[in-house]
Amino acid sequence: MPQVTLTVNGQAHTAEVEGRTLLVELLRETLRLTGTHVGCDTSQCGACVVHINGESVKSCTTLAVMANGADVTTIEGLAKADGTLHAMQEAFREYHALQCGFCTPGMVMSAIDLVQKHPDGLTEQQIREGLEGNLCRCTGYHNIVKAIAAAADVMHGKRSEIARAAQ
């Protein structure tokens, strides 16, 4: 069986996998990082999004062997060791951008990459279009869009902390 060596959330791992093993299966079943979710089988929902070398990728459509030598970040790797949340996580909480929490890990990972790819800021429409690859059935996206805008301000250094939600 092929062997994969990769770094996940700063930790080096080596694992034997089947050729057909998906990255999400390696993460969830071998490494027991169950924060990354599988919500569909057609690469539509984005619950499985992780970062590979800093870029958002659907781990349900990536073979584990393709991540050989890569630096992978999952939702478990975002907060600091002291428990301080990433600005995007903090914004999701402040703006009530999650309900059941199942799409949330992929949504947060996609949102971070989206913000990073737009250093000059994002319009509401750009955020909505940028979420094309992530489905949420609970929120109607209204609060997700607001949270991403608020997090972008912090990630781009425009504010030192997440702006409080109106409510």
Partner: protein, 796 residues
């Protein structure tokens, strides 16, 4: 420095406690649980909508790598496994019971829908189980299928169940037909409308999953499952299917990734993994992939109706007559029969003082996935029918559509209001929610926006709907008399620990609703304990007393009321202990937010003083009061609750592509007292998104052979962020008069009020194209044909 703690009680938008784990990937969903030595199940499903099974050959599959067992329906029959039970019995017009054909856990003899369970392969890995399932050889004798209501009611239609004539599950009615006919004879105007309420696939983001375990030492079974109501699953599966005493069966519904109704029901896979775990002595796990979700999760809606409204010369409604065909699918899912009857026909008064209502409902079996409650369940179908009918009536009488509604509203001084269809509304103010919404949506300024849009080549329309729903389900005696085979109370336990922190045990289940926060706020408000020191426990039959779970927007109205009752008991006992400690009469003890006080004095005891005394009863009236500070209450509601409100949608249609864009959505809902405004707003926004999905994007499509064409997220259009616009949500409160919190429920209002508002807006946008009505969803293709057909007509 003394900094006041932030207010966390009723009315505060406390940020959610559960978010920390969800945001850091620490949620514990069913598929996140793993056990040493666990096996994996893969279900082989029927590729045919309707076929006789001549034989199932498992020989090759059983010999494949990693395979531990392959089971068929015959194996289950040998173990005397029962069929999946139905939890509600409807009676026909003539008083006879509905047809209730068996629902085998694994099909034998016959398959009745694409996705029906045919066999299960169990292996060391999921992939091995899947490979093995593919090697099972099934010899089918394919039969003609009845894939739609129309096909199933035709003379000579294929019989889904051999002994159910005409595929008729039941023929039910409510109201007095003769009185209705007499009222129609007096009408100045009758408006008739044919409607389809499109079939939907719920698609909670977490696919269903189940893991069965068996402890050989104790003989105990444990099932982890994606459920909204673990006690109900334990009762139904233990008593009806596997014949395991409830004392030997634990059901855990851990974090659940959305439900929307689809995770209420007892599903075959739960029984399969539990039974197989016992047979094999090892944990057995099953996780649906999304394709399986599409063809095995209960679907929603699917009504075909004709509605007729009789009006007098002033536009006052005299009577309503409705005929509905409701699709049950191939088998009766747990609560399916009550959805098109007691959750639908009883809501046909809506916000109006209609004096006479008659409704008949024929429930039909088809070769499709079973249909059951989906967010709103029956109430969206009733609201869509009424609110479309009101718009058409306005058009045909020439009365303004807002004025027609206003003229027929149940007046504010009429509450409690007895409808002609069994329900008694306790409170509401439909004029207030309408007026507030009209202002918020700038209804008066619409024509200017329409003209501006026309300048950009866009057709702009506005539409409103007003609605009432019945939730806070439900008084047990009432639903029992209507055919429910369960009580619908809720339970709450308040456990005050020695050091003053609190654990709440609730039979309600949270799968996105934020109960861990809202319920903690109730405790903060009443007992004065900070939410950080309140822990909400739910979803485990080994921890929580017998509760009924979450659906029908009942968690706060029924579950929260049980907690309030239990806290009343805590306070009553606490007062007795405080009276002893402060050497006062119990009648003189007052309690407010954590402090017991001798009335008119500065002598006080904190809740923690009382809890310490209760658990360390050194100085304690032990002959009069038991130690400990823990109380349980069961709350059975006196009535349903009746949220209501007004939704206004504004759309633009692109004439080039036919695409309908949401430009504004305004909701003003009366959900009773609001505990956490942030969470209520989120619940309403989410419901509205699903309603907009139904109106513009989503529909389940079967072909004539019963093949599911909309069977993946590439074929079934789930709303995405760029399909929706900002959703403005406000509340206008009238209190529920019969529960201790005055709450009504907010989980379903969004999905109930929004679809007719959107379609009314689309029809309004098309006002130059002579469109009388329109079936959902309003897809670009449909719009384009209307626009271009209209243009061609104009040119001719």
């Amino acid at each position: 420095m003394n900094v006041a703690a932030p207010f966390e009680g009723i009315g505060a938008s406390v940020r959610r406690k559960e978010d920390y784990r969800f945001l850091q990937g620490r949620g514990a969903y069913t598929d996140d649980f793993n056990r040493q030595g666990q096996l994996h199940a893969w279900i082989l499903r029927s590729p045919h909508a309707h076929a006789r099974i001549r034989s199932v050959d498992t020989t090759a599959a059983a010999g494949m790598p990693g395979v531990v067992a392959v089971f068929t329906g015959a194996d289950m029959a040998r173990d005397n496994i029962g069929g999946l039970p139905c939890g509600w019995q409807i009676h026909n017009k003539d008083g006879s019971p509905m047809a209730e054909p068996p629902h085998p856990v694994i099909a034998h003899d016959k398959v009745r829908h694409v996705g029906d369970q045919v066999a299960v392969a169990i292996a060391a890995t999921r992939e091995q189980a899947r490979d093995a399932a593919e090697a099972i050889v099934v010899d089918y004798d394919v039969l003609p299928a009845a894939a739609t209501i129309d096909a199933a009611v035709k003379p000579g239609a294929p019989a889904v169940h051999d002994d159910v004539a005409g595929n008729l599950c039941y023929d039910w009615h409510i109201g007095d037909k003769a009185v209705m006919e007499a009222a129609f004879a007096q009408a100045a105007k009758v408006v008739s409308l044919d409607l389809v309420n499109n079939r939907l696939i719920p698609n909670a983001m977490e696919p269903r999953a189940a893991m069965g375990e068996f402890d050989r030492t104790s003989g105990d079974y444990t099932l982890h499952t994606t459920s909204q109501n673990p006690h109900v699953i334990r009762l139904l599966m233990g008593a009806n299917v596997l014949h395991i005493p409830e004392s030997k069966l634990r059901v855990v519904a851990p974090d659940v990734g959305g439900g929307f109704g689809s995770k209420i029901y007892h599903y075959a896979e739960e029984a399969i993994v539990t039974w197989a775990a016992g047979k094999l002595g090892k944990p057995v796990k099953w996780v649906a992939d999304r394709t399986e979700s599409f063809m095995s999760d209960a679907h929603g809606r699917d009504h075909v109706s004709n509605a007729q409204l009789a009006l007098d010369a002033n536009g006052k409604i005299l009577a309503l007559k409705v005929h509905t065909y409701a699709n049950m699918g191939a088998y009766l899912s747990t609560f399916a029969p009550c959805v098109p009857t007691y959750l639908y026909a009883t809501l046909l008064a809506g916000t109006y003082s209609t004096p006479v209502i008659y409704c008949e409902v024929k429930a039909i079996f088809t070769n499709t996935v079973p249909v059951d409650a989906y967010r709103g369940a029956g109430r969206p179908e009733a609201t869509f029918l009424l609110e479309r009918l009101m718009d058409v009536a306005a058009q045909e009488t020439g009365i303004d559509r807002v004025e027609l509604r206003r003229r027929n509203f149940i007046p504010n001084d009429a509450f409690p209001y007895q409808t002609p269809v069994a329900l008694q509304y306790d409170s509401g103010n439909y004029t207030a929610t309408l007026d507030q919404a009209l202002v918020a949506a700038d209804w008066a300024g619409f024509e200017a926006r329409r003209a501006e849009a026309a300048g950009r080549g866009k057709l702009r329309g506005i539409g409103c709907s007003t609605y009432v729903e019945a939730c806070g389900i439900a008084p047990s005696a009432v639903v029992g008399s209507l055919g429910a085979r369960a009580g619908l109370y809720e339970v709450g336990t308040i456990r005050v620990h020695p050091t003053g922190s609190v654990t709440v045990l609730t039979g309600s289940h949270s799968h996105g609703q934020g109960h861990e926060t809202t319920f903690a706020q109730l405790v903060a408000d009443k007992l004065g304990v900070p939410t950080a020191q309140v822990d909400i426990v739910h979803g485990d039959t080994a921890k929580v007393p017998f509760g009924m779970g979450t659906y029908g927007s009942r968690s706060l109205a029924v579950g929260g009321s049980a907690m309030m009752k239990a806290m009343d008991k805590i306070i009553a006992k606490g007062k007795r202990i405080a009276a002893h400690l402060m050497e006062a009469s119990v009648d003189d003890i007052e309690f407010e937010r954590g402090t017991f006080r001798v009335a008119g004095t500065d002598r006080t005891k904190a809740l923690v003083d009382i809890s310490v005394a209760a658990y360390v009863p050194h100085n304690y009236p032990i002959d009069e009061i038991e130690p400990g500070l823990e109380e349980t209450a069961f709350y059975d509601p006196k009535n349903f609750t009746y949220p209501g409100g007004c939704h206004i949608a504004e759309v633009e249609i692109c004439q080039e592509t036919g695409k309908v864009s949401m430009v504004n959505f305004t909701a003003v809902d009366d959900v009773g007292r609001v505990i956490n405004p942030m969470i209520v707003e989120g619940q309403v926004q989410g419901g509205i998104a699903q309603g907009i999905g139904q109106a513009l994007l989503e529909t389940c499509v079967y072909d004539a052979d019963g093949q599911l064409l909309s069977g993946s997220m590439m074929d079934y259009t789930m709303p995405r962020a760029d399909d929706l616009a900002p959703i403005s949500v406000a509340t206008h409160t009238t209190l529920c008069t019969h529960n201790p919190l005055g709450v009504k429920g907010c989980g379903e209002v969004g999905a109930i009020g929004s679809p007719p508002a959107v379609i009314n807006a689309v029809v309004d946008a098309l006002r130059d194209f002579n469109v009388r009505t329109l079936d959902m969803p309003a897809t670009p293709a449909k719009m384009w044909q209307i626009i271009n057909g209209g243009r061609r007509q104009a040119a001719e």
